[in-house]
Amino acid sequence: MIDYRMPALGADMEAGTLVEWLIHPGDKVKSGSIIAVVETQKGAIEIEVFAEGTIAEIVVPVGQRVPVGSVLARIDDGGSSPPVSAAQPEIATPIAQTAEATGKRFAPLVPPPLTVGATGTRPKVTPVARRRAAALGFDLLHVTGSGVEGSIRLADVERGAQRRAEPTRHVAGYDAAAMRAAITAAMSRSKREIPHYYLSETIELGRALAWLEASNAARAPQDRLLPAALLLKASALAVRKTPRLNGVFLDGEFKPGDGVHIGWAVSLRGGGLIAPAIREADKKSLSEIMSALRDIVERARKGGLRSSELGSATITVTSLGDRGAEAVAAIIHPPQVAIIGFGRIVTRPWVVEDKIEARPVVAATLAGDHRVTDGHIGGLLLANIRDLLQEPDNL
């Protein structure tokens, strides 16, 4: 039997509120199954389980706020513990009752229902159910009714609305003030605790951008690459060669990452910053990286990020984009040990075989945790990035 605990979804997350269970006891799960939604100061996040088995017991009810590390559920992974009984235990109204305290009404969940009214007729809905659906802004289509003559009744609406409405409700809920507070806490802590050193390298991108243009000409519009993909891939490959910059500093010691998971910094509308991870970035193709970039930017802005994305970056890359400054001296995101920065791609005079030419260049910077690395290692990283960007074919 495995204890499934409240994960830390960010450096400064201390507790979270379980706002929705997406599974029932008895459901089978595997590694990567999303099993619940947790509300944090950064917004609502879906959390995954990394075990395979059957949900044995739900320990924390909907609506309850628990510290990171609290047992949320128990999963029977076929281990030495006694087997879970086959009968589905009651998720009784006590769960709904507890939720009352938070002002929300949640009911036990059911798997996605089939469409009602297969003949094309209007579904039957009881008056109070219709009223409640209207109040919740809940669409009655595709709801199976459990009432008389298959009518959709109050319980069906409350169940269905809660299941469906929750994600979008949470999306709207990036609390700017809470996020600002979180950033403040993290950055303050970083500056307080981490002795930063800074290095920079100006990298010429003529060849890289020419390659990009040619490559894009052959691609469909939605598949086209942005320079960011090249920068990210180059960073990932370079980081692989300097593993001492890829990992976390915890409990007084450096712990290397189990892969190169680039945290890509995304700024949010209305202020706020989030850096979801693109896992195994060094092993992804440019196309995959581009897709991943698009995906996480969109999901980051809509609030559909997963815990594994937020908690698992081994190093962060922050690219200011074409409206940012020329260079950035970034602040390391604890507990990581380095952060790579890219400024705006600008056209500058460049010496090519003793002649001065206008070339596109970008300022690449590294901030490193001096407790773990020194300028020598950092310099190696930047040199590697520079070299990789001169051979775009190999990215």
Partner: protein, 334 residues
């Protein structure tokens, strides 16, 4: 209440409760007198008035010839002029012979006279089926009478109501018809000694519940309670509302229970079409439509002149199993 009038037994039958009510009325108010067929020497068709002729005399316990119209009409005339007659129509089946007097005189004179006269008349009638006495002796017409403005219709279903509703009726300045269900006369219950009066306006919740409201009256009340017991074993908590008064209906109580449980089964022994259950259902639709989480249901008398054979009669009347089934279907549809 005078000592003589106080019930000296705390446990009595419905029949005995009716009798004690009549005795109390006669003792307390000299204007009260009884008229009816075989209420005196015979002691009453259902033995309600047994011994009362000896106790109160012929002037106040008046045996009448078989003349329903004249008896009821005389009751109306006497009431107009200051007496408080209690007319017994042996059963509601015979009240049809007096319908003209009830509808065209008792119910209308206050209005027709522009308020010059009240008709403080009480008519008691036995009602209902279940005694294997066939079509002409088994009607449940209280719902019919509840259609007539000017009348108050009472359906005491408990011993307490049988004991005390009559006294309330006597205080009402309007004609009051009291329907005593034939299957209730032998029922025995304890009377709360602390109660000496009841209202004749409101319905009462006889069993609190959560999942469905069973709305019943008169002979249907024990059946609804029995149905609630059956449902309780299945984890369905039925609330049972005793209407007590069919006219004026306690609409507020009806809407309150249905708005809470959101499901309703109406129990009515009368024939289904155009019965009082239709009126109740319509009031729920009018006043609590948006609270409903299931269609309205009713369990009524089957539309057949009551048959004699026992199994046929039982099939024609609402029964606890049928009521429970209707409620079950609303709460946990199969």
């Amino acid at each position: 209440m005078s000592d003589a009038a106080a019930s000296s037994f705390l446990r009595l039958t419905y029949r005995e409760a009716c009798k004690q009510a009549l005795r109390q009325a006669l003792i307390e108010d000299p204007r009260v007198f009884l008229m009816g067929e075989d209420i005196g020497r015979y002691g009453g068709c259902y033995a309600v008035t047994k011994g009362m002729l000896e106790e109160f005399g012929e002037a106040r316990i008046r045996d009448t010839p078989l003349a329903e119209s004249a008896i009821v009409g005389a009751g109306i005339g006497a009431a107009i002029v200051g007496m408080r007659p209690i007319v017994e129509v042996m059963t509601c089946n015979f009240s049809l012979l007096a319908l003209d007097q009830i509808v065209n005189n008792a119910a209308t004179i206050p209005h027709m006279s522009g308020g010059q006269f009240a008709v403080p008349l009480v008519i008691r009638m036995a009602t209902g089926g279940g005694r294997r006495v066939a079509a002409q002796h088994s009607h449940s017409l209280e719902g019919w009478f509840a259609h007539i403005p000017g009348l108050r219709i009472l359906t005491p279903a408990t011993i307490e109501d049988a004991r005390f509703m009559l006294l309330g009726a006597l205080r009402d300045p309007n004609p009051v018809l009291i329907f005593e269900h034939v299957m209730l006369y032998n029922v025995e219950e304890n009377l709360d000694p602390g109660v000496c009066a009841v209202d004749i306006d409101h319905a009462k919740i006889r069993r609190a519940g959560r999942d469905v409201s069973l709305i019943a009256y008169g002979g249907g009340l024990p059946k609804a309670l029995a149905a609630a017991s059956l449902l309780n074993k299945e984890g369905i908590e039925a609330e049972v509302l005793d209407l007590r008064v069919l006219r004026p209906l306690d609409t507020a109580a009806i809407l309150e229970t249905v708005s809470r449980t959101r499901r309703c089964v109406i129990v009515d022994e009368g024939w289904r079409s155009g019965s009082i259950s239709a009126e109740i259902g319509m009031r729920i639709a009018e006043g609590a439509f948006f609270e409903l989480d299931a269609p309205l249901r009713r369990v009524c008398g089957r539309e057949v002149p009551m048959p004699y054979a026992a199994h046929l009669e039982d099939a024609c009347l609402p029964q606890p199993e049928g009521i429970a089934a209707a409620a079950r279907e609303l709460v946990a549809p199969s």
